[in-house]
Symmetry: C2
Subunit: 455 residues, 2 copies
């Protein structure tokens, strides 16, 4: 038996080595296709420069849906369609304003942007003093001083954390829960320090909590330089401001996720999903967030088709609607999959920017994680060094949860992401062609491995 | 014995763990200092915006030397001085020009820049037809057609290679050896396709071979879009051009490397060197090449001093003169060290851009490499995933070779480097504060580990 075992073992080892070599060659083929003939960068130029901002409910989103379905066909989808969902229709309205009305700097304007889903002051605005709050604990201490004032949350993005998404996770609660928390104590409006390490002064928007039971007061983000300036003024004494936001909701409207499909040759009823979100905030072109994920998704389809790859399973390429202020596209995708009794096996997302890839975050069982980590040597030549316990992104969350399947997300280098995130600077010019392509090719390789070996 | 061994083993493991934990804390301290109080970015702004280009022999280099010595003092050097060396003094002269003189595009101008160390045509220029050469093998095939013509080397930067420095290594011989090779067959001038993946049209300069025995003809780099355009025209027929370059050498002049020192507390006569090069090409501000290495070097000094670190060995912080077109600073540094019978133990360089760090390249014995690789777990939280066999950069080459010591170089992510390298786009705005700082702190951590454990 021992000799036989050894024989079997060496045979197996040989098979594994052989398969790995086959896989290396296939991944090299995918990589060459993306790096030499890639269309992701040109597609991103179209999406950002010809369409631009595409917040749910906007004309930009409607144009982007039409563009997306054309791109799916052009890239070689066997099938493509729009999946309808109702989306919130929040609008910024006429220009916001924050103007100093007291002291030596009277009439100085600060850089502000209404938070997504926030309510406005109306065109007449508000005149009130500002009170600075450093943390929720600080709010509790000062709760009796808040009434009638504008609460300025000045919680800093933590520069000691190496991964900027951790700094974001740490700070974002002030944007999301800060407004209702301040409203509870009678504040009339909120300013939130932008969540960023950027060295410019652009305000960074993003969703704030909304819903029937949540108290609403006008809420705006403040640029970092102006946040520091305001902090200094408040240390000297009272600061009165004129605060105006015209943000408001219109009735929900119709939106669509764009879906393309490569039909599986062996198990066409077993579905792998890969996607990014088509909507963006309204302040810029949404180049990194999430134009990158959109064009990477289309590029994976294009490249797999171009090299003649025939997937065993059906691969769905999804440009999700309404990630930014509602997640209705991702939610609807899961609901419809459940209603149709679809079988899903894996979902992958790109929504952390078109930067140079470093790894994947993976949500699944320890055994599945270990299996995926076994593929690292195949991805390492392309810059992926780790597959770490985590999860997929927001859009693939509902399908992963509904189906009880593993999900993953591309983890690019995060240092520049929050410089641009939800701000005017999130434009095409801040995306590098090669970094974008490396993300796409590593995702395509990951999809190929899941399609071949399962999880 | 077995029990004793086990006991010893567990004791040793404990000691190692304890030391690692100490090291983790120290590296965390260095990281916090750089990320919270870092001056690298502000210093880079000064160097690039207040001084700008600083090619050897230029006024910019003289200003940069003065700035550098002030910065060494400000950062807390125990000693600082200028190390003199003679440097080549090449100048671009009045604006270069390449103008089409035949066909439908007569008078169209293409984006060109004289190669460093090249000779010029003088103000009268040259009128000649262009011949396209795809490789040195192609040159041999066409050698009888070259006489009296302008050779256009159109060798593409290989996009299949993941690490762009490999693409550069592959292509750079056409810039360096292309001009004398063309001159040998009677060419009157040379155009070289810029070595870059960039999507703009800036020409990228860089050294070409020079010396008494090397045949000299005027040589310029051509922007990528114009290189593609010229290639298309040449496929249709003859292209005649007016070619003018005013590049020339002036007599060698005096330059200086800037040196700061932290004096060792245990072995002050054993020296660790860390540095980057102070000179830059003349087309831009040299922000990545090598402003980044310069300010990281100063930042390592500043941070170690700020946290009160007392090195065992003497640490030398060197801003080398003349890396770009002569390497006279690095050469002089090694010569003087030898003449003074100094003892050096290690040298580290940053000259691959201020991008997010991925690893170190290391030149030393297999045992030394293994020892350094043992430190990876300490650096991994800060983005360094590999220490690979390689070597230090150009500037620490002479000291490493002269002393027979190990040398290393920071390896940042390379995707964007050649977009800017030696071109007008190598400006401060293309450097990210956090990426620059992460490079500095990983270098500081590496220096700390070498100082503590040796190699």
């Amino acid at each position: 038996m021992r000799r036989l075992s050894l024989f079997l073992l060496s045979f197996l080892s040989f098979s594994i080595l052989y398969a790995q070599s086959d896989d290396s060659l296939m991944i090299r083929k995918i990589a060459d296709e993306v790096l030499v003939n890639g269309k992701a960068y040109d597609n991103l130029r179209q999406l950002t420069k010809q369409i631009g901002q595409r917040l749910s409910g906007s004309q930009g989103m409607v144009k982007a849906e039409k563009w997306g379905i054309e791109k799916m066909k052009e890239a070689g989808a066997d099938k493509s369609w729009l999946q309808q969902c109702m989306v919130p229709h929040w609008v910024r309205g006429a220009a916001e304003e924050l103007k100093i009305t007291s002291g030596a700097d009277k009439n100085k304007k600060l850089a502000v942007a209404a938070l997504g889903n926030s309510t406005g002051t109306g065109p007449k605005g508000i005149n009130a003093p500002v009170i600075e709050i450093k943390s929720f604990a600080d709010l509790e201490t000062k709760k009796d001083d808040v009434k009638g004032k504008i609460v300025f949350y000045n919680y800093k993005f933590n520069s000691k954390l190496i991964r900027t998404f951790e700094s974001y996770g740490d700070a974002v609660m002030y944007r999301f829960m800060g407004p209702p928390a301040a409203a509870k104590y009678g504040a009339v409006a909120v300013l939130v320090r932008s969540m960023s390490h950027s060295t410019d002064n652009y305000p960074h928007t993003g969703s704030t909590a909304s819903g029937d039971t949540i108290p609403k007061i006008p809420s705006m983000a403040l640029g970092l330089k102006d946040a520091d300036w305001l902090d200094q003024q408040l240390q000297k004494g009272t600061v009165n401001v004129f605060y105006k936001s015209n943000a408001h909701f219109l009735p929900d409207t119709i939106g669509h996720s764009v879906i393309g499909e490569l039909i599986g040759t062996e198990s066409p009823n077993e579905i792998i999903t890969v996607g990014g979100h088509l909507d963006s905030w309204d302040l810029a072109e949404g180049a990194h967030d999430d134009g990158a994920g959109v064009v990477q998704t289309i590029e994976i389809l294009r490249a797999l088709k171009a090299i003649g790859y025939k997937p065993k399973h059906t691969i769905r390429f999804v440009l999700f609607a309404n990630e930014e202020n509602g997640l209705r596209g991702g939610t609807k995708y899961a609901e419809e999959a459940k209603a149709k009794n679809e079988k899903h096996i894996f979902a992958l997302e790109s929504d952390a920017g078109g930067f140079t890839p470093r790894g994947f975050s993976f949500g699944g069982s320890p055994e599945q994680l270990k299996k995926a980590q076994g593929w690292i040597p195949l991805l390492q030549p392309y810059g992926v060094y780790e597959i770490e316990k985590g999860g997929g992104g927001a859009d693939v969350g509902p399908i992963a949860e509904t189906m009880g399947i593993p999900a993953a997300e591309l983890i690019p280098d995060s240092q520049r992401y929050f410089d641009y995130h939800h701000a005017k600077s999130d434009v095409f010019e801040n995306v590098n062609k090669r970094e974008l392509e490396l993300g796409a090719l590593n995702m395509a390789a990951f999809i190929y491995l899941v399609d071949k070996y399962g999880l």
